[in-house]
Symmetry: C2
DNA sequence: TCCTTTATGTTAAACGATTAGATTTTGTTC
DNA sequence: GAACAAAATCTAATCGTTTAACATAAAGGA
């Protein structure tokens, strides 16, 4: 049991505890001779400073709280990995709180009140734990404004949208713009889009990117090609059927997530439509399965690691009293697979 | 900033700090009148005890360190979720350390020395943080014996095998036995198995379950039906080809993970063999994609949540000086999907 | 009435570090 | 070797709790 304290070191090295502390932290000059002596004793006794005592005195714990809506949702681990990557370099530690929202209240993304309690409890716990700051990881991107009273401790949000707080989110508009751009490069112009739940921020922004793209590339505009899904496979299936059975079927469909893209594929299969030869599909999220289904799905990969990293970076800047420069948004990257084909004229 | 201390509460409630402490912790009788007064002041001032000070005095932090080999590997988040679920109930907190092994040294599962450094650093950090104990989560099941010196702090392992320490692992033997049992119920008797890397513990144990099953059910034994893969899709593909092109092809294949099962499916497709009509497949892991590929893969679901929960439970028992009863191993469950068919005679 | 419990409080010493400010040692210069 | 400055080291207060030891008042028993 690591029950040796700075006093033991001081005694054995025949110096005061102050000197030992100075050696450890390099906060004052210590002669080479004593420094080496102290260091050797520390080594010998395998001494590690007691973090609780340090935190108490220093009034900072070098620990941040990470609140995850649900660690088992696909995007969360990768974001945690990013946070961790950065935290390691900054010598920060992560106190993880998992809200388990998917298990506790399901996927009712709009029911803010329902999880308010869980989130508030989590924040309160973390504050008691004296974290220096917090990062909130959404499991499903959406609005989340002024939810928490963090009693002055900084909090950075990621994978969600907030109004007054710092929030790290990828560029939704750019993502759908790039997807459409890729399709036009492949010769497509009759492009349909299946959105996620239409009241959600990412749906709105990605639709914005879509409009921007069809304007920029002067594509034909057909309101029938804009369908409102709900993120679930079933809606992808149903809406793809509508699209493909309509008098003016599109040659390509952009689904706002891979799950709906799978629904689209199922619809196409039922109608005897070959993918990608007769219909091209692009998804979103680069879910693991999108690589394994056949054909594999071309999809927009989300910069999850980067988001986590940047969130930690931003938090660290805030903690050091620096201004947080809200630079370029992290950007999605198209992963080319087998669900898109060059359009034969 | 939560800069109010127990002294402020004591002053405002006109009692000593001791009394406040007794009220908070219920460690001694306090008259109803003063108790209520103190509680009201605490409420009013929104006071939260300083955890660093508590930890220092109590010599325990109510915090455990969780060391994950790589949080982005499929099994890890679910295990963390289980740990978290239990920790919540015990009022314990989780300090997460992510070794990022997959990124840092790839999937060389056998190169124990390569990550020893990372793991030791992690343990050392956590000890400095004064965690009460630790849980180690493997990302790939394998032997891991006597790796860490935790200076007397208890450590529980999960998703890996150890010799002297407490380790929570599911029942590998039962899992493959059950898979074979299911296949025989469906009328299969010519059953092949594609193992993972043969020097790994789970491969060996699952082969044990396989042998047990063919003995118990008196199935024909053909050494050609036992193939040694390496967990990767390519090996599933290659070995399935060997099996299917042999003079005595099996009617069912048990692959020791879903990734290899996908390889098997690819091989079957190339050979024009219909799944499940001409060949049944069972995988392992219940990976997300196994539900989305077509046909969807019947697979053994690992009790990950339960493992996490039990690991936390075991650690808590150790911390309370209780004996850890190594009860039943968590058990895998077969998920019926579309890759297995009743064998037509 | 006196003594013993019991209930309720308070005082003050830890826990193990950090860090002003005081003190001692060393080095430099004449 | 004296005088002084600079460098090295030490003393002791402090961070915010917990808790053993002690103090006091009220209650109960003879």
């Amino acid at each position: 049991m690591s029950t040796i304290s700075i006093k033991d070191i001081a005694a054995k090295a025949q110096v005061s505890t102050a000197t030992v502390s100075y050696v450890i932290n390099g906060t004052r000059n210590v002669s080479r001779k004593t420094r080496e002596r102290v260091e050797q004793v520390i080594e010998e006794m395998n001494y590690k400073p007691n973090n609780a005592a340090q935190s108490l005195k220093r009034r900072r714990t070098n620990t941040i709280g990470v609140i995850a809506e649900d660690v088992t949702v696909f995007n969360v681990p990768e974001i945690i990995d990013g946070i961790n990557d950065c935290a390691d370099r900054l010598d920060m530690h992560i106190l993880l709180t998992n809200l388990r929202l998917d298990k506790r209240i399901g996927r009712q993304f709009d029911q803010v009140d329902a999880y308010r309690k869980y989130a508030e409890d989590a924040v309160s716990e973390l504050l008691g734990k004296q974290v220096d700051g917090m990062i909130y990881i959404g499991a499903h991107p959406r609005d989340l404004t002024g939810l928490f009273d963090t009693e002055g401790k900084p909090i950075v949000y990621t994978y969600c949208y907030t109004q007054n707080d710092v929030s790290i989110q990828y560029d939704d508009e750019q993502a759908s713009f790039e997807a459409i751009s890729y399709l036009t490069n492949k010769g497509h112009s009759r492009i349909a889009i299946i959105s996620g739940a239409v009241d959600s921020m990412p749906s709105r922004l990605r639709l914005g990117g879509f409009y921007k793209a069809i304007t920029a590339f002067e594509l034909p505009f057909n309101p029938q090609w804009i369908k409102m899904g709900d993120w679930e496979a079933e809606s992808g299936y149903r809406l793809a059927k509508e699209l493909l059975e309509s008098p003016e079927p599109p040659t390509a469909i952009l689904a706002m997530n891979d799950v709906m893209a799978v629904g689209v594929m199922r619809a196409a299969k039922e109608l005897g439509i070959q993918i990608p030869d007769q219909l091209s599909i692009i998804g979103f999220d680069n879910r693991e399965f999108s690589e394994y289904v056949s054909p594999s799905i071309t999809t927009m990969d989300l910069p999850l690691h980067e988001m986590g990293y940047k969130a930690m970076e931003a938090l660290s800047h805030i903690l050091q009293g620096e201004q947080v420069e809200t630079g370029e948004k992290p950007v999605c990257k198209l992963i080319e697979r087998d669900s898109v084909a060059e359009l034969a004229n």
